[in-house]
């Protein structure tokens, strides 16, 4: 399975009439089992790009190739749970085919066992984020999209949740697209990093990470980070 993104342009029309270029021409592809990371400044058009890739926005120039049968799992920036359904119902509604065993495993990994019957309004943001993760993984997606899933969480919690995401991504051959601000998240979770420019967004640099995810030690991560900093300086 393969995702090909080729956007030749995207403009917004304001009510006043002037047009606004959001995305410059950009192109990338992802394979099964690969994690692509989009890194860019706030407001550069990442969310717009995701909406186009997910098929929520059809008003753009270019094309998105993904197998029509591909199942999509998505973690939005906000959890976007249904407040009137319990945690378990929220997951099951998105993934009606999920087996009890799979669901139990997900809830165990994400430490949600105690909250199955709770309503989203009763959960903290961190917990709600985990429910959103459980929902995305319960679908057993072919394409997993994570839009800043760790934003506005404290460091300790973000770190744990990042490890949980790494475990879940490693356990399936899903293509993953992660949007983040954090270089740390990017080098721990990603296989290929795409650095985006400010609006209108284009890919400034594509950096593959050769070392497999599971074999990256702390020293290794430090080295990658230093290399990235050097590359970034060069490109400026």
């Amino acid at each position: 399975m393969r995702l090909e993104v080729e956007i030749t342009g995207k403009t917004f029309r304001r009510t006043a009439g002037e047009t606004h270029e959001v995305l410059a021409p950009l192109k990338f592809a992802l394979q099964s089992g690969e994690v692509g990371v989009l890194i860019g400044p706030s407001g550069c058009g990442k969310s717009t790009m995701l909406r186009i890739i997910l098929g929520l926005d059809h008003d753009f120039a270019g094309r998105i190739l993904r197998p029509p049968e591909a199942r999509v799992g998505m973690v939005f920036q906000e959890p976007r749970l249904l407040p009137w359904r319990s945690v378990e119902q929220n997951v099951r509604l998105a993934a009606p085919g999920v087996s009890d065993a799979k669901l139990s495993e997900l809830f165990r990994i994400l430490e949600l066992d105690a909250h199955r019957s709770h309503f989203p309004g009763e959960l903290s943001l961190g917990l709600a984020r985990r429910v959103a993760l459980a929902r995305a993984f319960a679908v057993e997606p072919d394409l997993l999209v994570l839009d800043e899933p760790l934003a506005s969480l404290d460091d300790a919690l973000a770190g744990r949740l990042r490890d949980e995401i790494a475990t879940l991504v490693a356990s399936s051959s899903v293509m993953t697209l992660l949007v983040t601000h954090s270089i740390d998240d990017a080098i721990r979770l990603g296989d290929r990093l795409f650095f985006l420019s400010a609006r209108p967004a284009r890919i400034v640099q594509e950096v593959p990470i050769a070392v497999p995810r599971a074999e990256r030690t702390e020293t290794e991560l430090g080295r990658i980070k230093a290399e990235l900093a050097a590359v970034q300086l060069e490109s400026k």
Binding site: R51, L54, G55, L56, R71, V72, G73, M74, F76, E78, R80, L82, P83, W84, R85, Q89, L93, A94, A95, P96, F119, G121, R135, V139, V145
Partner: protein, 245 residues
């Protein structure tokens, strides 16, 4: 307890006023009760009440289902909103009496005309409320349902309907009170039975005890239905929302 007290107070004021005014204009509570008991034992009271309730139920269901569907459509589709809006304003401001009289003239003094006329009076408010509810739908949840490829019906039932439920409840409640009022006018003008018809007869004979007997029984039925049916439904539809402090 407080409710009971205010009811007793009402009875007392009525009774005292009846003693002062006297005569047929303001009968005392026992005189009215006599009429109620007499008509109840002969069965006519239940016949008329039943006819009225059946009309209320039919026209209410008709207006609610049609109004909800149109309101949802107008909230979702811009073109439908543009096309429907002038009609909506017209209907909203059309006096109930005009609709009822026209319905009787065009469709004859029939049951269908009466029910349609009542339903048309309630229709615009249901449309307006549901249109507002539809406009207030959370788009981010719609997107979530789209991304996860939820089938239409499942998305409607679990994503859209719970958001509309408070609006449906509000529209049902205000709509029911509107229908209660209009049904009597429609009966008075063109039906041979029902509480409205009986009140019309009482008016022509200046039979105040009968008039009060029927209006008070009707009011009691409305009160019972409001507390036992409408209020619990409303509470249930909004139960997941945080309570007002």
């Amino acid at each position: 307890m407080l409710r009971l007290l205010s009811f007793v107070l009402f009875l007392a004021v009525w009774w005292i006023a009846a003693l002062f005014v006297g005569g047929p204009k303001l009968p005392s509570p026992p005189a009215v009760l006599n009429v109620i008991v007499a008509d109840a034992s002969s069965g006519t009271l239940f016949l008329h009440l039943g006819a009225t309730l059946a009309r209320v139920a039919l026209s209410f269901v008709l207006a609610m289902s049609l109004g909800s569907a149109i309101g949802y459509l107008m909230g979702r589709v811009r073109l439908a909103d543009r096309l429907g809006d002038p009609w909506l304003i017209l209907l909203l401001n059309l006096p109930a009496l005009v609709v009822i009289v026209l319905a009787y003239i065009w469709a004859g003094l029939t049951e269908a005309a009466a029910i349609a006329a009542i339903a048309i009076n309630k229709l615009p408010t249901a449309i307006v409320t549901l249109r507002e509810g539809t406009r207030a739908l959370d788009r981010s949840l719609d997107e979530m349902a789209t991304v996860f490829a939820m089938p239409r019906w499942r998305a409607f039932r679990h994503v859209v309907l719970p958001q509309l439920a408070p609006y449906i409840a509000a529209s049902a409640r205000s709509g029911l009170s509107l229908v209660w009022k209009i049904v009597l006018v429609a009966e008075l003008l063109g039906r041979p039975n029902g509480v409205g018809f009986e009140i019309g007869v009482a008016f022509q004979l200046f039979d105040t005890p009968r008039l009060l007997a029927y209006s008070l029984t009707f009011a009691a039925v409305v009160l019972v239905i409001e507390t036992l049916l409408v209020q619990p439904f409303e509470a249930r539809a909004t139960r997941w929302r945080p309570r007002a402090a």
